[in-house]
C-alpha cells in the first residue's frame, strides 16, 4: 500500500527508487518498519554511550516548531548533563501526520516526544490513546497552569490527559500603517482596534472604505480563506458539536463566516492569494495587501517574508472578536524506550517559564495561562511591528477565546473549506453557493460519509 501510493514516477525511476529503497532498507536494517511514504526522515534511535549514562531523547516535530529555535533543548541539556536532546523535523504537517500515525500503529520509528497539531489532536487521542502515555500526573506538570480549554483538548474521553499544550493561536489583525494612512483610516493601533471592535462585519466595512480610497494598488486583505479561518476561530461552535457530531453543513456560525469571507472576495477586497504558497510569500515582500488576520505564530512569518522593507510599516491591532487558530501539543508514545525521561522533558518544555521563552524569541503564544503574568509575556513588545505590545494584545485575545469543541477531522474539514471551497470563490469567481456545495461534497467524500 505504502509503496504504491508513495510511488511518484514512471517505470524507470520507480525501478531506481525501489533499488535505492531496497539498499536503504538492507543497510538500515529497518525492513520490519511499516510502509511509509518515501522522502521522510526516520527519527534517530536512541544511543547510550559507553558509560551507559547519557540518554538521547528525540523530539519529532513539523515545520519550524520553535522549541529548538528558542534554544530550549540547549538549556535542557545544560540542566541535565546526562540527557541529549535531538530533534527530527518534517517541513509540513500533512506529511508528518500520516507518518506519525503509521509509526504509532506499528509501535516503531517513533521519537520519544512527538508534536501533534490541534487539528489532529482529537483524532490522535481517540484512535491512538492506548499507545500514548499519561502526562497529566507526570512530574512537573501543573494542570492549573494551562488554559482550561487547552487542557481539555489534550484529555481523552476516558479522562487521561495524554497531550500537553505548547502554544495556541490567539488572533489579532496585522495591518500596514502606511496603507491605512493612504486610505484615510486611523493608523494608531488602539484606534484601528476600535474601528472594528466586536464585529467582523465592521472589518468588512473598513475594507470597503479602504477600497473606495485606494481603488487600485494593494488589496485590503490577503485572502478570503484567511478571513474565514479567523471568523470561524472566534465562534463558540465550529465543525463539531459537544456530542462530537459533524455539524459543519448546518452550523450557522460556519455559514456566517463563509458568507462574510465570500463578501470580501466578491467585493474585490482580497489579493486572491492562497495562504502558505510561494505566491503568498512573495505578496508580503511586494506589499500586495494592507491587513491580514494574524495568529501570534504568524508574526515571525510576516517578519521573515516582508523583510526589512516592511519594518515599521506593519503594526498589530486587536481582532474584532477573540479567537484561536492553530496551536500544538506534545505527546509521549508508549513504545518509547525512555518514557519517564521523555515525560519529564515534555513537562519541562510546556511549563509556563519555557513557553514564555518561546513566545519571547519566536512569537508562539503560551497555552499555559500562568505564563501570561510573567514579564517575558506581559511586557513583550515586537520591534518589527513598531514595538507593538504583542504580549498584552495576544493575552487579552487568549483570555477571550471561546472554548469550541474540536473533532477528529477538524484539520481536514478546515482545509477543505478553505482550499476547495473558499479558494474558488476568491480565485475563480465561482458563486459562493456553488462553491459551498463543492466543498460539502468534497468533505463528505473525504470523511467517507
Amino acid at each position: 500500500m505504502g509503496r504504491r501510493s508513495g510511488s511518484r514516477k514512471r517505470g524507470p525511476v520507480r525501478g531506481l527508487a525501489l533499488a535505492l529503497l531496497l539498499g536503504a532498507a538492507l543497510s538500515g536494517g529497518c525492513a520490519t518498519d511499516p510502509p511509509v511514504p518515501p522522502a521522510t526522515g526516520v527519527p534517530a534511535r536512541e544511543t547510550v554511550d559507553g558509560s551507559g549514562r547519557r540518554i538521547t531523547l528525540t523530539v519529532g516535530v513539523f515545520g519550524t516548531f520553535g522549541l529548538q529555535e528558542a534554544g530550549l533543548y540547549d538549556t535542557y541539556m545544560r540542566l541535565n548533563p546526562d540527557i541529549e536532546v535531538q530533534q527530527t523535523s518534517l517541513s509540513r504537517n500533512d506529511v508528518y501526520y500520516p507518518q506519525l500515525l503509521t509509526h504509532l500503529t506499528a509501535g516503531s520509528g517513533l521519537a520519544d516526544v512527538q508534536a501533534v497539531e490541534v487539528g489532529n489532536i482529537a483524532e490522535v487521542l481517540a484512535t491512538q490513546g492506548n499507545r500514548l502515555d499519561e502526562l497529566g500526573s507526570a512530574p512537573g506538570v501543573d494542570p492549573g497552569a494551562f488554559l482550561p480549554w487547552k487542557w481539555a483538548q489534550g484529555t481523552a474521553a476516558d479522562g487521561r490527559t495524554l497531550a500537553l499544550g505548547t502554544d495556541i493561536g490567539p488572533q489579532a489583525v496585522c495591518y500596514r500603517k502606511d496603507l491605512f494612512a493612504r486610505a484615510g483610516l486611523p493608523t494608531e493601533r488602539g484606534a484601528v482596534g476600535r474601528l472594528w471592535a466586536g464585529d467582523w462585519r465592521a472589518y468588512l466595512a473598513a475594507g470597503v472604505r479602504y477600497r473606495e480610497r485606494v481603488p487600485e494598488g494593494p488589496a485590503f486583505t490577503d485572502s478570503a480563506s484567511g478571513v474565514m479561518a479567523a471568523v470561524t476561530g472566534s465562534a463558540p461552535l465550529r465543525y463539531y458539536d459537544e456530542q462530537g457530531d459533524l455539524i459543519v453543513a448546518v452550523n450557522p456560525a460556519v455559514r456566517e463566516a463563509w458568507d462574510l469571507a465570500a463578501a470580501f472576495a466578491r467585493q474585490g477586497l482580497t489579493a486572491r492569494l492562497q495562504q502558505f504558497t510561494p505566491g503568498w510569500d512573495q505578496a508580503f515582500a511586494n506589499g500586495a495587501f494592507a491587513t491580514i488576520a494574524c495568529p501570534a505564530w504568524m508574526l515571525g512569518y510576516i517578519q521573515d517574508k516582508a523583510g526589512p522593507a516592511g519594518r515599521g510599516r506593519w503594526d498589530v491591532a486587536a481582532a474584532p472578536r477573540p479567537g484561536s487558530w492553530g496551536g500544538s501539543f506534545l505527546v509521549v508514545p508508549s513504545a518509547g524506550r525512555h518514557r519517564a525521561e521523555a515525560a519529564r522533558l515534555a513537562a519541562w518544555l510546556t511549563a509556563p517559564a519555557q513557553q514564555a521563552v518561546v513566545f519571547e524569541r519566536r512569537g508562539s503564544f503560551p497555552s499555559a495561562s500562568a505564563a501570561y503574568t510573567l514579564p517575558a509575556v506581559v511586557s513583550a513588545r515586537h520591534p518589527y511591528f513598531d514595538d507593538a505590545p504583542v504580549g498584552a494584545i495576544f493575552a487579552a485575545a487568549a483570555r477571550g477565546v471561546p472554548r469550541a469543541p474540536i473533532g477528529p477531522k477538524d484539520a481536514l474539514v478546515a482545509q477543505t473549506l478553505a482550499d476547495v471551497g473558499m479558494l474558488q470563490v476568491d480565485q475563480t469567481g465561482r458563486s459562493p453557493e456553488s462553491a459551498w456545495n463543492a466543498a460539502m461534497k468534497a468533505i463528505d467524500n473525504a470523511l467517507d460519509r
Binding site: R3, P37, D94, P98, V420, Q424
Partner: protein, 400 residues
C-alpha cells in the same frame, strides 16, 4: 529490433536490403558524421553485433567514426576481430566435445544465484501487489490499519459513481496526452540533432539528460514560481507580447498545460537518449543506399530512421503511458500548498494524486488500494485494447 541489429558483415556479404555495398567513393552529400571510406570498410569488417545493442548509449564516434585514430589502431592491434571470432568458435566446439562434469550440489547453484532476485521480487513486487488487493476489499483506516472490515467489492463499486475518481481519470488522460505526444516528438528531434556530429556533442547530450537527473521537487517548485499568477515569468513573457496574464493554477486547461510542460521538460532528454541509442544501431549503409537512390534527408528519416526506430518508439510510448498513468510528483508540487487536492476544483488532480489523497490525507487505505488496482486494471485494459486493435488491423491487411 533484430533487423536493425544485423551486424554489418564483412564486405563480401550483400547488404540487408540486398544491395551490394556501394563502392568506395567520395561523400555524396558531405554528411559530416560519415567516416572516410577506409575507416568505414575497416570498421564494418570488425564491428560485432553486441557492440551496437540499443542499450549502448555510447557515442557513435567510439567504434565507428573514430576509425583511423591512434586509439583505434591500438585497439585493432590488441584484439583483432578475426581472432576474436576464431577463439569464440574454438571455445564452443571445445565445450560440445567435452561436456563439463559438475558436482551434484551445483545443479542447484544457478537457482541459488537467481534466488535473491525472486526473493526480493516476491517481497517488494508481488507481496505489496497482493496485499493491496486484499486491502482494497476492506474498509481500513490509517488510524487503525489492523482493524479491517470486509466490504467485498464495495470500494470498487463506489468508484463508479465517484465523480472525483472520474475527474481524476479524465485529468490523467488529458495530461498524459498533452505531455506524452509533444515529449516524444521533441525527443525524436533532439535525438536527430544529437546524432549529427556537432561541436561539443557530449556537452549537449549531458544537457539533454540534465532535467531527467534533476530532483522533481526542485524542478516543480521552480516551475510553480515560473507559472505564478502575479509575479511569474510566464505571465511576464506573455505580457511583453500583449497577452493578459493567465491564472495557471486555476485555469482548467492552463493548469493541465503547465503540469504537462513540467513533464515534457523533464522527460524529453531521457527519451531522446533512447532514440539516439536506437538511431546509432541503424546501419549507415542504409542511408548511403537511400542517398544513392536520391532520397532527401526527410525521406531518409521517414523510410530509414523511423522504421529502424520503431521498437524504441514502442518502448518509449509504453513507458510514457505507464508514467502518465502514475503521474504524481509534478501535480502534487505544482499546487505547492494545496496538498493533494490538485487545485481548488481538482482541475489537475491525477489518479496518482487522488490515490494519495485518499490514502494519506483522508486516511482511507481501503479506498486508496482500490484506486491503485483500478489504475492497474485501466492500464491492462488499455494495452489489451491496443493489442486487439493491432491484431484486427493485421488480419484485415492479410485478408485484403
Amino acid at each position: 529490433m533484430t533487423e536493425t541489429r544485423t551486424p554489418p558483415e564483412p564486405p563480401e556479404r550483400p547488404e540487408p536490403d540486398g544491395r551490394p555495398e556501394p563502392p568506395e567513393r567520395p561523400e555524396p552529400d558531405g554528411r559530416p558524421e560519415r567516416p572516410d571510406p577506409d575507416g568505414r570498410t575497416e570498421q564494418s569488417g570488425r564491428s560485432e553485433p553486441s557492440t551496437a545493442g540499443p542499450g549502448a548509449a555510447g557515442p557513435r564516434n567510439g567504434p565507428r567514426t573514430g576509425a583511423g585514430t591512434g586509439a583505434d589502431t591500438r585497439a585493432r592491434g590488441a584484439r583483432s576481430p578475426r581472432r576474436g571470432r576464431h577463439s569464440h568458435r574454438h571455445r564452443s566446439r571445445h565445450r560440445s566435445r567435452h561436456p563439463r562434469r559438475t558436482p551434484v550440489g551445483s545443479r542447484w547453484a544457478p537457482y541459488a544465484l537467481v534466488a535473491p532476485f525472486f526473493l526480493f521480487f516476491g517481497a517488494f513486487g508481488i507481496f505489496p501487489l497482493l496485499a493491496t488487493a486484499w486491502t482494497s476489499l476492506h474498509r481500513v483506516e490509517l488510524t487503525a490499519p489492523a482493524e479491517q472490515e470486509w466490504v467485498g467489492l464495495h470500494n470498487y463499486a463506489r468508484l463508479l459513481d465517484d465523480t472525483f475518481f472520474w475527474n481524476a481519470l479524465g485529468n490523467t488522460v488529458v495530461i498524459g496526452v498533452l505531455s506524452t505526444v509533444p515529449q516524444l516528438l521533441l525527443a525524436l528531434g533532439v535525438a536527430h540533432l544529437l546524432d549529427v556530429r556537432l561541436r561539443g556533442r557530449g556537452f549537449f547530450r549531458v544537457v539533454a539528460l540534465a532535467p531527467y537527473a534533476t530532483s522533481v521537487a526542485a524542478a516543480t517548485l521552480v516551475f510553480a514560481l515560473f507559472f505564478g499568477r502575479d509575479h511569474g515569468m510566464a505571465n511576464w513573457a506573455l505580457g511583453t507580447v500583449g497577452i493578459d496574464p493567465v491564472d495557471w493554477q486555476n485555469g482548467p486547461w492552463a493548469s493541465k498545460f503547465a503540469v504537462s510542460s513540467i513533464v515534457i521538460w523533464r522527460w524529453t532528454g531521457y527519451n531522446a537518449l533512447i532514440y539516439l541509442a536506437a538511431m546509432q544501431t541503424i546501419p549507415r549503409e542504409l542511408y548511403e543506399a537511400a542517398a544513392l537512390d536520391g532520397a532527401s534527408r526527410w525521406r531518409q528519416f521517414l523510410h530509414v530512421t523511423l522504421p529502424g526506430l520503431w521498437p524504441a518508439v514502442l518502448f518509449t510510448v509504453l513507458v510514457s503511458t505507464i508514467g502518465a498513468t502514475q503521474l504524481f510528483g509534478e501535480p502534487l508540487l505544482f499546487a505547492s500548498g494545496a496538498g493533494a487536492s490538485g487545485g481548488a476544483d481538482h482541475q489537475f488532480q491525477t489518479l496518482g494524486l487522488y490515490l494519495y489523497e485518499q490514502g494519506w490525507v483522508n486516511l482511507h487505505l481501503g479506498r486508496a488500494a482500490a484506486i491503485a488496482w483500478a489504475m492497474l486494471l485501466i492500464l491492462v485494459v488499455a494495452f489489451g485494447a491496443v493489442r486487439l486493435l493491432r491484431g484486427g488491423l493485421a488480419r484485415r491487411e492479410q485478408a485484403s
